[in-house]
Symmetry: C2
Subunit: 335 residues, 2 copies
């Protein structure tokens, strides 16, 4: 990598002349400017990032902390984050908390030393379960902004990008009621998460608001993903009159669908199934799973936009909460 100094020597001008020429300063004569620019191109000069970071006290880099990259929702949010950051001239440093508090806190701590200008993150399951938030406060006290998406906490006042989880669950449930379903099971693999609680509430509110339909909703909480198959199977055994399934996590919808099919239910004639997910491999089920579709990439894009707006704003802005819409994607497992 050639430096300004080396370029200056080759051109027999001073370092600052080169710097100014390259930065479009009006102080320098046209002839010099073009001479410098040519040389810069010739020698493939690129300003050294480390020097710029030090000089400017900013890195044009955002720290991104993802709870679980193997979850398609988060993968797609990351997709949106990366796309929008690149567009706006920022890099992202990616950390994965793997749902652990310690890893999350450590990542924040490690990057809060001038490595990044701000954080975009979704809270780890363990952190939510144990209700920890001091590590967030430490970072914010250091004047490094945090933006939380999807899984957020009221304990922290910061920018947030969330899904309309309550409403999404509400309208999925309402759809099943309107289909004439009477015995719906709500399968909940994510009761520890803020979004899980919201979705659950949305389902029950829909039932309540339509109680004249006489529809009944049972919640099946399965904390352990590995138990899902067994628990769902058991539930079907003990509840022969079930005619609707709403799964509010990423995966139990598929399992419920497969279980029901194996047991001889005719889906969607005898039984409707609605899952929660972005468009992903789930629609490759047969019949194709109807889902509440999260616009995950939009979550990522909005997060980046808000964060960069804050980073580049002169004044200190009020924190904002942005809600991203969902859509109900009826495929083949609903009427």
């Amino acid at each position: 990598m050639i430096t300004l100094k080396e370029l200056a020597e080759k051109l027999n001008v001073s370092i600052s002349t080169v710097s100014k020429s390259l930065n479009g300063s009006s102080e320098i004569g046209e002839a010099t400017v073009s001479r410098v620019k040519e040389a810069a191109k010739l020698y493939n000069y690129k300003p050294n990032r480390a020097a710029l970071n030090l000089k400017n006290s900013k890195t044009k880099t955002i720290g991104v902390i993802i709870p679980n990259i193997l979850n398609h929702f988060f993968a797609k949010v990351l997709f949106g984050i990366e796309k929008e950051s690149a567009k706006l001239g920022y890099n992202i440093i990616t950390c994965l908390s793997n749902e652990l508090y310690a890893k999350e806190a450590n990542s924040l701590e490690l990057l809060a030393n001038g490595s990044v200008d701000g954080f975009i993150m979704s809270i780890a399951e363990e952190t939510q379960k144990e209700n920890k938030s001091d590590h967030f406060k430490d970072i914010i006290n250091q004047k490094i902004p945090i933006l939380m998406f999807d899984r957020v906490t009221d304990d922290i006042d910061c920018d947030k990008v969330i899904m309309n989880d309550f409403q999404a669950a509400y309208s999925a449930t309402t759809h099943l009621i309107k289909e004439g379903r009477k015995n719906i099971v709500l399968i909940n693999n994510i009761d520890d998460l803020s979004v899980g609680k919201l979705r659950s509430k949305g389902c029950f509110k829909a039932i309540e608001d339509a109680k004249h339909y006489g529809c009944n909703l049972t919640e099946l909480k399965v904390p352990e993903t590995s138990e899902l198959e067994k628990e769902i199977d058991l539930f079907f055994k003990n509840n022969k009159t079930i005619d609707g399934v709403i799964s509010i996590d990423n995966i139990s919808g598929v399992i419920a669908l497969n279980t029901a099919t194996k047991k001889g239910y005719n889906v969607p004639k005898d039984l409707s199934v609605i899952g929660f997910s972005d468009d992903n491999v789930l629609p490759f089920t047969s019949p194709k799973l109807s889902t509440v579709t999260q616009h995950s990439d939009a979550v990522g894009e909005a997060s980046v936009q808000l964060m960069i707006k804050r980073l580049e704003s002169k004044e200190s802005l009020e924190t904002v909460v942005k809600t991203i819409d969902f859509s109900l994607n009826l495929r083949e497992t609903t009427l």
Copy 2:
């Protein structure tokens, strides 16, 4: 963020005394060292990353370029990369090429300015299709090491971590032959990729090596993912005697399985299906898909280990190619 200078002022010692104390230099008196360390802890001193990067001309950061984060294979490799980097004290800057040459080249270019010490990447589909490699050479000429995983090219001499694709396809095919299958279709959605070609060759070689079994293999190439469903359906229509499917990409196995089931095939009695993938949502098919399982996280881990070994080695090392094993995971779509 408190700086060395500020700490020094508070302690009434010089900057270099503070620096040396904190870095465990033997030059400084014990009393001073502990006084300094206490103060550092008290004020939560953290060395400024940008300054260190500039001083050391290295960043302890690796640039990672992923073709498609929505592909579970790559998500899991990223998982492995992040885990191992964190363990070894490195950060990763993640870029997504989205299978595009321009984005890939741009990411390399942008980060090759002191932002990262090296690159770990898998080649974009477009880059492989058009056989481009000058952008890699540029980076390597700048003395920034590149490590390629999974999708690699012979045109570039660099560290590589690959799957044993030929062997994996070979043994999957051999399994079908041993089951007594006579008419196998090889569904190939990734013929443009180096790994697609390797897997295809592996299948044909297995057939050839076992030709006394009289097994026949037809290759169905479907370049467009969106056409898979239609093409597979058509193929089954025109080939009634098919009794084995080997899908060498991430997804066509599921589609083939669903198509076959819908057409009334009894899987695995009439027809065996083997897919390629890491353990992911594919096994949630019903019956559960048998797959060639890639140990994707091991790919990520090995990549990081090799890269860091190179970055931290004093001498210049020979380039190495490491092969990661696969395993044949027979579930319910094979006998």
